[in-house]
Amino acid sequence: MYGTYLRRELAGRTKQTVIVAVGLAIAIALVIVVNALSAGVRDAQTQALSSVYGVGTDLTVTGAQTQPGEGGGARFDFGAQDGTTTDGTTTLDQSRLVAERQRAPLDASTVTSVADIDGVSAATGALSLTNMTFSGEIPQRGTETGTTGSAPTDGGGQPPADGQGGGSFGVDSFSVLGVDPAASVGPLSAVTLSEGRALTGDDVGSDVAVVDATYAASAGLAVGDTVEVAGTAVQVVGIVASASADADTAANVYLPLDIAQSLAGVGDVVSTVYVQAESSDAIDAVQSRIAAALPEATVSSESQLASTVSGSLSSASSMISNLGTWLSLVVLLVALALAVLFTISGVARRTREFGTLKAIGWSNARIVRQVAGESLAQGLLGGVAGLILGLGGILLVNVISPTLSVAASTTSGPGRGAGGPGGGAGGGFGQAAAQATEVVLNAPITPAVVLAAVGIAVLGGVLAGAFGGWRAARLSPAAALRSVA
């Protein structure tokens, strides 16, 4: 009889049942979609960060920020006899490997110090550098047609009347990262090998490199070719690509750390230490310990690194966490309030019915169970509808798979130059502002999301049933029957 009465009552009050169920469905669907999108955004941010900082990096340690102008700029000095002169034109060419200037380097022993800290699972150091090549042509003065006299010695003098005699120069750059070939964390942990082989511990001291696939394609490099780094020919032994098809790796060229240090002439230093904590619960404590051990250094967690992510992914993240979360909360509260109010008003409208049931012998408990059951059924209806709607929303997001731009700020990590042959001053002197890439936004379906939907539906039903049942139980049968006499 319980089930029959319940079904008939819900069917008999279709409008109320539909309103409550639809309200709950919309709220639940919104919660599901917002939750899934949040998870998707987190995954996208992690993907973006991992292409820069590697998989498994929980913390990064970098040196103190330098003052503007500190550390000097890159200089290219040419002697009078430098370059090759042909037909009156001197061709000049010089490469320099320069370290990041925004932050002071860390002594390489910092890696060992950090690795010895309690709670640290692994640590590795990397040296971010930029290889800059200055090249150009200078015509020799005094050998140009139409000029007389010797070439000026003071470097000044009047320009030739006919406009001849200018030179042309260009600066090309690409990013270089010196890494520990045997490390399990760090930027190279987020790459896949496209061709050749990866760097290994045996490559220490060897002039070998692996090259980012995008850079290799633009520079026309293949396994077996050589790439000039600071004037030294380094053999390409492997091509690597980001684990994400839409992202590039952290640098253009990867060298063994000791080779990078030697070619840059910076000594036994690193620019970043990548740290993996023993567990995600320990990250905060490890961060504090490292900061205490290295007061001059900057220790950043992944969540702090995530704040450096900009671009449309960052906008999407803000929108979901601010607008999306608040909107779904408000809609949920409204839906729950609707369910409770409709149930209470339904009980009020059924005063005679409940009074009659009490008169024919129904106990308060039996009546409360009936009201609670009806509310729970409405809640579950809303829950199922919300789940279907929410899963449909997630499916839609995954079918559309919007592409979002991501720029991960590299002020605390390795820098990237513009990289292409033929110049490109995008990276230029110093560091690129950010590494731009694109990630595809997906909304994953997780069991937690499904459970949350069911939980909210049940909660809505239980709340409404509790209020309604309480109202029904308070009805005195005599008063109920008297009120409609």
């Binding site: 024919i360 129904w362 106990s363 308060n364 005599a478």
Partner: protein
């Protein structure tokens, strides 16, 4: 078909010094003023009187829907005035059948399901419930309308379903509050015939009514005016 009435004591109800007062908008209303009354088992009693005289209050007291402000209302061995809510609920479920002026059927349930609602608190097995529902509807002549909803039945038929619901539990007493108040003459007589037949089988019947045609059918007639009961059977 007979209504099985378990052997009970000779007196069904004993009321001693029953009063009932209400607070209504700063006023104290005395609905019942020291009612003393005995109703025998198997009796057919009507209660008449002017509107506001306390008839419905008395019926609700007899139906264990309400407690007196003072005095005793004894049904069998239980004093309704002192019983717990659980005991009262039990009394209403097992011993007392109630029929209302407005029928008070649940509109979304069929006739059979409405009758079954009266058996719900008894905890009977399905077969026994089905048997009692069929027996009760047959007794009131509606076995062929078991699957009809109240909206598909006439007023008289609805009241007969209500009577079936009240009697399916085989109560000690049937209380009826203006059972023919919403019915025309023909239906009224139809209902009275049903009630008389039940009474003839031994069911104690107490009917509140304005209708003297109904009162004339009773074996005993009471009048309740300003909370005071007088026996007007011989009047």
């Amino acid at each position: 078909m007979s209504l099985t009435v378990p052997t009970r004591t000779a007196t069904t109800y004993r009321l001693e010094g029953v009063t009932r007062t209400y607070r209504q908008r700063e006023r104290t209303v005395q609905a019942l003023a020291g009612v003393d009354l005995e109703i025998d088992a198997g009796d057919f009693v009507t209660i008449q009187g002017p509107t506001g005289g306390g008839k419905s209050t008395l019926l609700q007291m007899l139906g264990a829907l309400d407690r007196p402000s003072s005095g005793a209302v004894v049904l069998g061995e239980i004093d309704i005035a002192r019983a717990s809510n659980t005991q009262l609920s039990r009394l209403r479920a097992e011993e007392i059948g109630f029929v209302f002026q407005g029928f008070n059927l649940i509109p979304t349930l069929t006739a059979a399901e409405n009758v079954d609602m009266g058996l719900e608190p008894l905890g009977l097995d399905r077969a026994e419930r089905r048997r009692r529902v069929t027996e009760a509807l047959t007794r009131v002549g509606l076995a062929d309308r078991a699957d009809h909803r109240p909206g598909e039945l006439s007023g008289g038929q609805q009241q007969r379903v209500a009577i079936a619901r009240a009697t399916a539990k085989q109560p000690r007493v049937l209380l009826a509050d203006e059972p023919t108040g919403n019915l025309d003459e023909a239906m009224r007589d139809e209902i009275l015939d049903v009630l008389e037949a039940l009474n003839a089988e031994g069911l104690t019947l107490i009917v509140v009514t304005h209708d003297s045609a109904v009162a004339r059918r009773a074996r005993r007639r009471l009048r309740l005016d300003r909370g005071v009961v007088t026996d007007i059977t011989r009047a």
